[in-house]
């Protein structure tokens, strides 16, 4: 396993919300302005720190949703009863501030390599965020690395980046686990060996895989990939806990 060192300095910085976009009923994208933002790689995350009037602080990790070269943006899904995400989805407004440190992470990142190894992106729920950054990075560069996203989601209402992903239908497959849109060819089902084998680059093509989402999803999906013959060292994972 090799890892590329990120920028060595990661200090807390004030970040101002410059815009918000509702992605669906429980998901919002926050556009941020961070003075002196150093830029980031696709797949990296930031730590976000909130401070209350009384000095109480809470910190959580959020992936960077945009491509390198774009301003930092976060896409947050509300975890019911959670401390931080309901605030970021429902309360915070343009002009408000948070603190942020990053970009963080030198391993769960993608950039075009000389060998153009095919890339399989496997997302469970909110785990689509850093993988969307990778798709966007590729598109903005006009890069021709074969890349495919398999996005496991409970129901059509919970899809994030719906329009953007629909615009790349040849590259993106949705897998509904609880309910499907009317007339959907496949009944709702958990990601399994057959579904994955039908979508994944064959191991002979030396693919790289990025798997992101809740721990149970990542454990399951990464296990299926190694069963398919993917080299464990070529399966990079990010578990949202």
């Amino acid at each position: 396993m090799t890892a590329t060192p990120p920028q060595p300095r990661v200090n807390w910085q004030a970040a101002t919300i410059t815009g918000t976009d509702a992605e669906n009923a429980r998901t919002r994208t926050l556009q941020l302005q961070v003075p002196g933002w150093p830029g980031h790689q696709a797949g990296q995350h930031v730590d976000v720190r909130l401070t209350a009037e009384n000095g109480y602080q809470a910190t959580r990790a959020y992936s960077l949703a945009g491509a390198p070269g774009e301003d930092p943006a976060l896409t947050v899904v509300r975890a019911e009863g959670g401390e931080v995400s309901p605030y970021l989805v429902d309360v915070i407004q343009t002009g408000d501030q948070v603190e942020l440190r990053g970009p963080i992470g030198g391993y769960f990142v993608w950039k075009p390599g000389p060998r153009r190894r095919p890339v399989l992106l496997l997302a469970g729920g909110s785990g689509v965020v850093p993988l969307r950054a990778m798709l966007r990075h590729r598109a903005r560069l006009g890069d021709d690395t074969p890349m495919r996203l398999l996005y496991s989601v409970r129901s059509p209402e919970q899809v994030i980046y719906r329009r953007e992903l629909a615009g790349q239908a040849d590259r993106v497959s949705l897998l509904y686990t609880r309910t499907t849109p009317p007339g959907w060819p496949r009944p709702p089902a958990r990601l399994d060996h057959t579904a994955l084998a039908g979508q994944a680059w064959p191991p002979e093509q030396a693919p790289l895989a990025y798997v992101c989402g809740p721990t149970t999803f990542v454990e399951h999906a990464a296990g299926l990939l190694t069963d398919l013959g993917y080299t464990p060292a070529d399966v990079r994972t990010e578990r949202y806990g």
């Binding site: 300095r9 963080i104 994972t237 806990g241």
Partner: protein, 198 residues
């Protein structure tokens, strides 16, 4: 100058058992760079490799036949969660290190799956570190590092290497996997040493 996030109140609980920037969880999140390796206890062994090249290896049965400890401890992950009152069973590194002769100052744990992590050898001594095989009374599940992981709870939990295969004792420090990827070389949660230069 503090940046206040307008309208944020939070749960407002702080506890002096919680290191700075950490949140209490009742779950047991997983931080791993790749898929979970599955290693059977029949194939498992643990090696201490000294700076002079001497190896001392224990099989699974040999490890289980050594005196066992039952550490009860809080654990702190660099991604921001802490878990209180976890119960483990395992063998103290003091017992294992007593079998080898070394003047090394540093250690690097290496694991199935290629993961490595480094720490000063002193942090493995003095009843601070174990090879743990049991969590909450049950065999340690694979996603949490089973059959056995290093347990060094006074440092951020990435130092508690899962699927541990052995520890190299070294004269010179050698940064491990996350330590090369931007995480702090020592990783003390109480000094919030998460990343390089913290």
């Amino acid at each position: 100058m503090a940046v206040i996030s307008r309208g944020f109140t939070g749960r407002g609980q702080t506890s002096n058992r919680l290191p700075p920037g950490q949140t209490l969880t009742t779950g047991f999140p997983v931080l791993t760079a790749g898929p979970t390796p599955h290693v059977s206890t029949a194939d498992w062994n643990f090696t201490l490799l000294t700076e002079t090249g001497t190896e001392h290896t224990w099989t699974w049965t040999e490890l289980r036949d050594l005196p066992q400890d039952s550490p009860h401890t809080d654990i702190h992950c660099v991604t921001g969660w802490s878990k209180f009152d976890t119960d483990w069973q395992g063998v103290s590194l003091d017992i294992l290190l007593a079998e080898v002769e070394t003047n090394a100052q540093f250690a690097q744990a290496y694991c199935h799956g290629g993961y490595t992590t480094n720490l000063p050898l002193a942090d493995l001594r003095g009843g601070q570190a174990w090879i743990a095989h049991t969590f909450d009374g049950a065999p340690l599940p694979a996603e949490h590092g089973g059959p056995a992981r290093l347990l060094v709870p006074h440092l951020y939990f990435w130092k508690s290497a899962k699927w541990v295969q052995g520890i190299r004792l070294l004269e010179h420090d050698q940064p491990g996997f996350w330590e090369r990827a931007g995480y702090h070389n020592y990783g003390d949660p109480w000094r919030e040493q998460r990343y390089w230069n913290d």
